[in-house]
């Protein structure tokens, strides 16, 4: 098995047994992981959204590289799960494949590399100092104690600043990863990206916001029942169809 497959097996094992799995390098996986991941391990036939050959080659190249060690990736997955834990009915960050997304975007964007690698290191050092083990090997309650210290940017404790910055970056990536997944779309309730006929803000919404369309403006707007009738104008620039 290559590295990625090992990691995947590790996740899957924990998913099926529900217990913390360990590997030779004493890494553990978050017990809450549930499978159902969107994974991007290589480009398959479903990969088609208007890519040029050069872009496909670039993506393939990135997908074949690894940046994070297993330990780092499991730590990141653990944080993702704390930031957006599974919740009915739309799952959480792990269900939406956020760690995979983080790994991919970090490979493409150099600016994330050091802050995330250094952040994991900082987190482990902090955890060892205060609780005697790496972040993923301490009790869940202890993990949350650490998060409570670093999850709020306005905290002025200078010693914690590196951790705070790391956590903010992890929160950004976790939120964006989840809310750009299908589960996230459902969770948000986003309604668009499909063919429709926009005919203005719903009346109840207008009312709630105390807004209205005035008649003069409406007279310039499209009558959706006539949209299929071919446009014609008189010589005075008036639309007559």
């Amino acid at each position: 098995m290559n590295r990625r497959e090992t990691l995947k097996a590790l996740f899957l094992a924990s998913a099926s047994t529900g217990i913390i799995a360990t590997t030779g390098c004493s890494t553990s996986v978050n017990p809450n992981y549930r499978g159902k991941r969107v994974t991007w391990t290589s480009l398959d036939s479903t990969y088609s959204y208007g890519r040029t050959a050069v872009e496909k080659a670039h993506d393939q190249d990135l997908l074949q590289q690894s940046y994070f060690s297993e330990h780092e990736l499991v730590t990141i997955a653990t944080l993702c799960d704390i930031i957006l834990p599974n919740e009915d009915p739309n799952g959480g960050a792990l269900d939406a494949g956020v760690p995979d997304f983080v790994e991919f975007i970090v490979k493409e964007r150099e600016i994330f590399k050091i802050p995330l690698r250094g952040g994991v290191m900082w987190l482990d050092n902090h955890s060892i100092e205060h609780y005697g083990a790496n972040f993923i090997n301490i009790a869940e309650s202890q993990r949350l104690e650490i998060c409570d210290q670093i999850a709020y940017p306005e905290v002025e404790n200078t010693q914690l600043q590196p951790g705070i910055r790391f956590f903010s970056l992890m929160r950004d990536l976790t939120m964006t990863g989840y809310y750009t997944s299908e589960l996230g779309f459902n969770d948000l309730g986003y309604q668009g990206n499909n063919p429709n006929t926009w005919d203005g803000v719903p009346a109840s919404v207008l009312k709630r916001h105390g807004k209205q369309y005035d008649d003069e403006w409406l007279s310039k707007c499209v009558d959706q029942s006539r949209r299929e009738i071919i446009a014609e104008w008189d010589d005075e620039m008036n639309l007559i169809t």
Partner: protein
């Protein structure tokens, strides 16, 4: 080496090249259209990015060097091209956006389609700066009228003198954040009217579809309901059988004979890297203002030692771009919204044209305002700083867990943004030229830019910032971030950043101070024409493309007439 002979060779398939191709082929001429990029049709599933979901992209729609405006944006090209670099002179800046594909930049442009007004052609008369165009609004009006009807543009007739009426399709109704903006603008006595965009809110023919409101015109429309040069002009022209399309073909030179007239072009076939010569009676350059200037400057001969059309030394001079600045606000009244499909058309439904003509201001010319916001489809970046607006509500920023789900919903669509686009004064000292020290991958010297804003543009940006802040506040918003000050040029965009390159082959009555005549015909070679924004004398506080299209049509009519008279 020489193969076929054509009536006309057209170089570049963007707005200007598409219009010239359509008109000249319809007039019965045999046309070769030469395009440096690949074939492109957004209706082809393997090229379609429209209606894709973010999770179809491994980077969830994030931008890349090859897709600077996001992974689903239709442009093949961007700020940097692997094969065609460019340089700037020391201490100056220019950002140069290029598309290399059939249809050029019209595949992903904003579709904001504004006529220039009567004042815009004669600005020197009002403020003494820059120069007048040799033509007036009346000369070009019939072409604007025809462009409206052929291509389709929604908008409204408002009777504004310098923002002329047109043959408009009906406008889409404003979205909720736009109603907030309308109320805010009216409070301040600033006009606001329906946007003007080349998107078909109503059918105009049986070939192109009608908009189905996906908000993704920047991804190009699979039913061809927005204007792209390829889908709306070139495909119909190709169907007529008079056009040979050469893609992946990069023109490096216009060839000329002993009398100095053009005989055709040289181009590199990018697939096999071969050099080819194509012959024609007439050559139309429409490679975009800067690229056409580059081809002219590279076409040196005994008759044209400084480059074709450059006896005046003006090719590349007077390059100018629009000014720009932007600001956004959090609108507390738009928190906790009812969620419905608010996509609408790509971009804004309402805008503010320049309203301070004749006001006593400390800068010349004006600008218009473009409005943004809404419950748009999440893409990479959505959810960053998820609850930063808590700062304004006296609540904690940050955290983790379930609360973040509530926050993201609470603030979804609670934002209003404004972008200003203004007119700069064209300067002789802002130019592009061939860089004598650097070649591109095709053996052609690259362009070197020299561009500086003047105090006028900076003063205009200051005014933009004041206006935007007042409007955002009047609309019920809390402006975000600090208003940029003098040390940041008041947030003025970099030269080139607004992607309205114009002026490099400007038109004029005198051949010593201009490159073409009023019909975009080179003073120095009667059978060479320019059909992009190179001939613009000034850029107006409008976006350029509707004027490129109207001028290209006018130029095409002139070419046909001159050919019939056997003058060329």
């Amino acid at each position: 080496m020489a193969q076929d002979s054509y009536d006309v060779i057209i170089v570049g398939s963007g707005a200007g090249g598409g219009m010239a191709t359509y008109q000249l082929a319809n007039a019965g001429l045999k046309v070769a259209l030469i395009e440096a990029g690949d074939f492109y049709d957004p209706a082809a599933d393997e090229q379609r990015t429209q209606l894709r979901f973010p999770w179809e992209s491994p980077r969830r729609g994030a931008s890349t060097r090859r897709r600077p405006f996001g992974d689903f944006n239709a442009c093949i090209g961007g700020w940097e091209l692997d094969d065609e670099p460019f340089t700037t002179t020391e201490g100056t800046e220019f950002m140069w956006w290029r598309a290399r594909m059939l249809g050029g930049r019209t595949n992903h442009w904003g579709r904001i389609s504004l006529r220039f007004g009567p004042l815009d052609f004669k600005r020197q008369d009002s403020d003494g700066l820059g120069h007048n165009w040799p033509i007036s609004y009346e000369d070009i009006k019939p072409y604007y009228d025809k462009v409206d009807k052929l291509i389709g543009v929604f908008g409204s007739n408002e009777g504004l003198y310098n923002d002329p009426d047109g043959f408009f399709l009906p406008a889409p109704k404003p979205r909720l954040h736009e109603l907030y903006y309308i109320d805010g603008a009216r409070k301040l006595g600033i006009p606001v009217i329906p946007a003007r965009k080349s998107i078909l809110t109503k059918r105009i023919n049986n070939q192109r579809g009608v908009c189905f409101y996906c908000n993704q015109c920047d991804r190009a429309c699979s039913v061809h309901a927005d204007f792209s040069s390829s889908t709306s002009l070139i495909f119909p022209a190709l169907n007529g059988g008079k056009v040979d399309l050469y893609t992946n073909s990069m023109v490096t030179e216009v060839t000329t004979d002993d009398t100095g007239k053009a005989t055709g072009v040289l181009f590199i076939n990018k697939k096999d890297r071969s050099l080819n010569n194509l012959l024609a009676k007439t050559v139309v350059l429409a490679a975009s203002a800067c690229s056409s200037a580059r081809i002219l400057l590279n076409s040196t001969s005994a008759q044209h030692p400084q480059g074709l059309g450059n006896s005046s030394g003006h090719v590349g001079r007077y390059l100018h771009d629009s000014t720009g600045a932007s600001r956004a606000a959090f609108i507390p009244d738009l928190m906790d919204r009812d969620i419905y499909n608010e996509d609408g058309v790509g971009g804004m439904h309402v805008y503010t044209p320049w309203w301070l003509e004749n006001a006593n201001l400390d800068f010349p010319r004006g600008y218009h305002l473009e409005i943004g916001g809404g419950m748009r489809m999440p893409s990479y970046g959505f959810g960053f700083a998820v609850n930063q607006y808590n700062e304004f509500l006296g609540k904690k920023v940050g955290g983790y867990g379930k609360q973040l789900r509530d926050d993201i919903r609470r603030f979804f669509g609670a934002r209003l943004s404004i972008a200003c686009r203004g007119e700069s004064i064209a300067q002789y000292d802002n130019y592009c030229e061939l860089d004598p020290t650097m070649l591109d991958e095709w053996g052609m010297p690259v362009l070197r830019f020299n561009y500086n804003w003047t105090k006028n543009e900076i003063a205009q940006a200051k005014h933009m910032q004041e206006t935007m802040e007042a409007l955002l506040e009047a609309s019920g918003g809390i402006p975000l971030g600090d208003r940029p000050g003098e040390d940041e040029n008041f947030g003025l965009t970099k030269p080139g950043e607004i992607i309205h390159e114009v002026g490099t082959t400007r038109m004029g009555a005198e051949s010593q101070t201009s490159v073409t005549n009023e019909f975009c015909q080179l003073h120095d070679a009667s059978n060479v024409f320019i059909a992009d924004a190179g001939p613009f004398v000034s850029q107006a506080d409008k976006n350029p493309t509707w004027t490129i299209l109207a001028l290209a049509w006018r130029t095409s009519d002139y070419i046909v007439e001159q050919m019939n008279k056997r003058n060329i």
